[in-house]
């Protein structure tokens, strides 16, 4: 029956590669009905999952036993997507109640997909409140595969201080064995392997290329050893690579029966391997290795890889140790191809494995290879080696193209890792709220990377955290221009526009995003912000609740909802919302700030101070936060510490006018009138149109007894306040002794006269009353 499988599997994979999910599903279902093997099961589940029906894949895999790592990984992924975290964990580690496997066991078991498995497991642990274990998993995952960004991102979110330089580098684990200079026959197999690997679509090639490059990174003499045991389900990527690498080196591939070997040790093994490369499909040792690692031992693949590994080793072991350019290139193709192709084409490998048994089927792969190869351009030179393999019987010497390709691959890998390091450092700085540093790091990446949505979004966010909203707005509008489809980070943009009170831009953004994607929480957050700016808080609340419905794991939606409830005076619900936000993300300092603000409103000042300090511990550079802490400390009668805090705030951000204002008010409250006046005079220069400043100056003068100056400033304050009805100002004026001996202005006087009443008319009347002595100068 295996004869039947191969063409069908090939057809299924081809359909999947062309996103023709209905075809793929149909064929996979027929195949599974026919054969009923676990491979077919995995293939069918993959088809379901890729077509977006995770629940189908989940139920299918649940009802049938799946023992292979791929199946288990896919099942765990479905569980996580369906929010069945406990089940996912059980699938991966054996359950909460049973004895759990350690992470090393997992690494051993899953082989090449260990890095993804560990990343998934880390995600599960973090969501279930076991942060320490989660971060451990993420670390291990990064160790195994430095090209994964999501574990790094998760670790940054948890607040871990990683060193991107250490993370994004090829460790010895990844260094493939340096095979000796390629010998044509030997190379052929290896190339074939690579090509076989290359059969996967372009992205795989990309990966391969990266792999190659990464493998360039670390070739150690060590590498020669151990690749040979393809039969091993070794989780060790190196070993896999070694196998592939070794291919290149020697021509004599000995086919070797399964040779259980662990890790690198193999030197002797290769000899035993018989070379059936030519006959065997090129699936390449890496693939076969994968297959093996995934599915246990396969005889055919093993010999293939092993032979490849062994042959080079045996023949070139002395050479291996010398790190020549040649060696790395050979290794690189393998390694990268292995590393990455395995990731993407494990299933394919499975199928390929089968194919290996039937060399005649190779033409399928060849075509795929060719297609894949032709797709690549540049770095494909390095992959030329692989291309050469396209013809099974092609046994050109690969040394020359090999060198070039390898150098190119190495260069590309280095480039990629360099980019990852730089972006990693910038992201890390941003997560620790070292915003200036983050901006400088991210701005110094090459221009073609700088002008991408991701980089600009994070720079914009850094400006936002620094409260430099105009800069942030500029950067975000650039993002919108470049990548109009980007939704991540748009909620920050909307809040920036909210702060700047740019309602037109905000409503345009809201309309655009909600039209584009109704299922993303960011779009609803933007819509909510838009209505909040229009003071329509009930509608804003509705939209924020919608954002939460769409994605209950989006912390910022809870925070914004909390703010809206606070604005509508529903403080209990606001508290609940902020607490929810903290539940989702402990380091969401906005939510801690929100809690502090609610407690301040309820006049529970010490609680407020505690929460503000917690928020400050997460984001130590926020001048607004320090300003608030200062005010709270003043309310707690700790005026000295309040002043100190405010001084710190002004030191961090001299442009923050509110810090100066509050400092002036504290000085005023402590009867230090001269200092307060001085502060306020400075503030007048910075923000000349702010009525509050004049109001406070007026109060200071009133206390000092200079009534005419006080009146002058009060009237300026009233003038500058267009909405009028500022009761406090009017009260302040009313209490004054007015030289004209007039009655206090009342509203009755105004309203009795007309049926229609305008707010502003009152202000005018007031002004006319006060108008006697003061000048009418308005700034």
């Amino acid at each position: 029956m295996t004869v039947l499988q191969e063409p069908v599997q090939a057809a299924v994979w081809q359909a999947l590669n062309h996103y023709a999910y209905m075809d793929a599903v149909f064929l996979a279902e027929r195949l599974y009905a026919e054969v009923g093997s676990e491979e077919a099961l995995y293939l069918l589940a993959t088809c379901y999952f890729r077509s977006g029906k995770a629940y189908k894949a989940y139920r299918l895999l649940k009802t049938h036993t799946c023992s292979t790592p791929q199946c288990r990984y896919l099942l765990a992924k479905c569980c996580v997507d369906l929010s069945k975290l406990a089940e996912g964990e059980q699938v991966l580690t054996g359950g909460v109640l049973n004895k759990q496997k350690s992470q090393d066991d997992i690494i051993t078991e899953f082989g090449d997909s260990a890095s993804f498995t560990l990343s998934l497991l880390g995600h599960i642990y973090c969501k279930t409140d076991r942060v320490a274990k989660g971060s451990e998993c993420f670390q291990k995952s990064l160790n195994l595969n430095p090209f994964l960004w999501s574990p790094f991102q998760s670790l940054c979110h948890l607040g871990e201080k990683l060193d991107p330089d250490q993370v994004f580098r090829l460790s010895s684990l990844h260094i493939p064995v340096a095979p000796p200079p390629p010998i044509s026959p030997a190379q052929n197999p290896s190339h074939r392997l690579d090509t076989a690997l290359m059969e996967t679509p372009q992205d795989t090639l990309e990966l391969n290329r990266l792999n190659l490059e990464s493998s360039n990174g670390k070739l150690t003499s060590d590498s020669t050893v151990s690749y040979i045991d393809s039969s091993l389900i070794s989780p060790d990527p190196c070993s896999l690579l070694a196998n592939t690498v070794s291919m290149g080196s020697t021509g004599s591939l000995l086919g070797k029966p399964n040779k259980p070997k662990s890790g690198r040790s193999l030197l002797g093994g290769p000899a035993a391997l018989t070379l059936c490369l030519q006959s065997v499909s090129r699936i390449g040792p890496s693939k076969s290795v994968f297959g093996q690692s995934g599915n246990g031992r396969e005889v055919l693949p093993i010999p293939f890889s092993q032979s490849q590994g062994s042959a080079p080793h045996s023949s070139t072991s002395p050479q291996v140790l010398s790190p020549t350019l040649v060696a790395p290139p050979n290794i690189q193709p393998r390694r990268s191809t292995r590393l990455f192709t395995s990731a993407s084409s494990t299933a394919k490998e499975n199928s390929k494995k089968l194919k290996m048994k039937f060399p005649t089927k190779i033409p399928n792969r060849k075509t795929k290879c060719k297609a894949a190869k032709t797709a690549n351009s540049n770095l494909n030179e390095s992959l030329d080696i692989l291309k050469l393999d396209s013809s099974m019987n092609d046994s050109k010497g690969l040394s020359t193209p090999g060198y070039q390709s390898i150098t190119l691959q190495r260069a590309a890998t280095d480039m990629v890792l360099y980019m990852l390091r730089e972006l990693g450092r910038g992201y890390q700085a941003l997560c620790c709220y070292n915003c200036q540093e983050a901006i400088s790091i991210l701005s110094s990446v090459p221009a073609h990377h700088y002008n991408t949505g991701w980089v600009l979004t994070h720079i914009g966010r850094a400006y936002f955290e620094l409260a430099e909203y105009t800069q942030a707005e500029r950067v975000f509008s650039e993002v919108r221009r470049i990548e109009a489809y980007r939704v991540e980070g748009m909620e920050i943009y909307s809040t920036t526009l909210w702060h700047l009170q740019k309602d037109v831009a905000l409503s345009a953004l809201s309309k655009d995003l909600t039209d584009m994607d109704r299922l993303c929480p960011q779009a609803w957050c933007v819509a909510g912000n838009c209505f909040s700016l229009q003071q329509e808080h009930d509608i804003a609340i509705k939209f924020f609740q919608r954002a939460i419905q769409v994605d209950p794991g989006f912390a910022y939606a809870y925070t914004l909802l909390g703010h809206e409830f606070a604005l509508t005076e529903e403080l209990d619900r606001a508290l609940a919302c902020f607490r929810n936000a903290i539940r989702v993300n402990n380091r969401h300092y906005n939510a801690w700030y929100g809690l502090g603000m609610i407690y301040y409103k309820q006049e529970k000042f010490s609680l407020a101070e505690i929460h503000f300090k917690k928020a400050l511990s997460i984001n130590p550079q926020s001048s607004v936060m320090l300003c608030h802490i200062g005010v709270v400390q003043h309310a707690l009668k700790k005026s000295d510490s309040a002043l100190e805090t405010l001084n710190r705030a002004i030191g961090i951000d001299p442009k923050n006018p509110l810090c100066k204002f509050h400092r002036a008010s504290i000085l005023f409250a402590n009867d230090k009138y001269k200092a307060a006046l001085q502060e306020l005079e400075e503030l007048k220069q910075i923000v000349p149109k702010e009525s509050l400043v004049y109001f406070l100056i007026g109060k200071v003068y009133k206390k000092l007894g200079q009534t005419h100056l006080a009146l002058m400033n009060f009237s300026w304050a009233m003038d500058l306040d267009p909405k009028g009805a500022n009761n406090q100002i009017k009260e302040a004026i009313d209490k004054r002794y007015l030289p004209e001996d007039e009655e206090p202005v009342t509203e009755d006087f105004l309203y009795d006269s007309a049926a229609d009443v305008e707010e502003s008319s009152m202000t005018d009347a007031d002004d006319s009353q006060l108008h006697t002595a003061e000048s009418d100068d308005v700034l």
């Binding site: 700047l500 001048s623 500022n726 509203e747 309203y751």
Partner: protein, 181 residues
């Protein structure tokens, strides 16, 4: 919502809300009426639609009772009456009373209104803190018996800045730094 023909310019309470100085808090209160015709009750009074109205069905004075869960600061009351469509049903003399419950209401204001369509604002001298407000229609135009009232909105002054006991900021520069969102 107010249709353009019915709302005189500048008198729209929604505009008032948009200034951010007041907030509509009718949703936090319990509303009751002294009498109403079936289908013309509280819902029609509070549905944001000027086409629907409350029609009373008893003897004068007709009362609208607004009770809050907690003592609330009330700044302004907006009543919409339309002489053109309601004629003799339009209220002409309205008395506003506040207190803790039905038994200790005190009259705060009495107003006589003549004239065309408008929103009527019987504002108070300064915001009043109260548990209950009663709006009484003492007389209608042309001595009509029952009254139509199309909409009532009740406003509270918006709490000033989120921090400090100061009044609102007026410039964007200040407001930007006021809060972390």
């Amino acid at each position: 919502m107010a249709t353009p023909s019915k709302t005189p310019p500048g008198a729209d309470p929604k505009q008032l809300e948009r200034t951010g100085t007041v907030r509509e808090i009718g949703s936090q209160a319990v509303w009751s009426l002294s009498s109403c015709k079936p289908g013309f009750g509280v819902d029609q009074l509070r549905d944001d639609n000027l086409e629907t109205y409350w029609q009373s069905d008893g003897s004068q004075p007709h009362l609208v009772n607004i009770q809050f869960r907690r003592k609330t600061t009330v700044k302004m009351l907006c009543i919409y009456a339309d002489y053109k469509s309601d004629e003799s049903y339009t209220p002409s003399k309205i008395s506003v009373r506040v207190g803790n419950n039905f038994h200790n209401l005190q009259e705060v204001r009495v107003r006589t209104y003549t004239g065309p369509t408008s929103h009527i604002y019987p504002p108070k001298n300064s915001p009043i803190r109260t548990f209950m407000i009663q709006v009484a229609v003492l007389a209608n135009h042309q001595n009509g018996r029952d009254t139509h009232m199309r909409q009532i909105k009740i406003y509270t002054p918006v709490e000033e800045s989120s921090i400090g006991k100061f009044p609102r900021c007026t410039t964007v520069d200040f407001m930007m730094y006021r809060t972390i969102r």
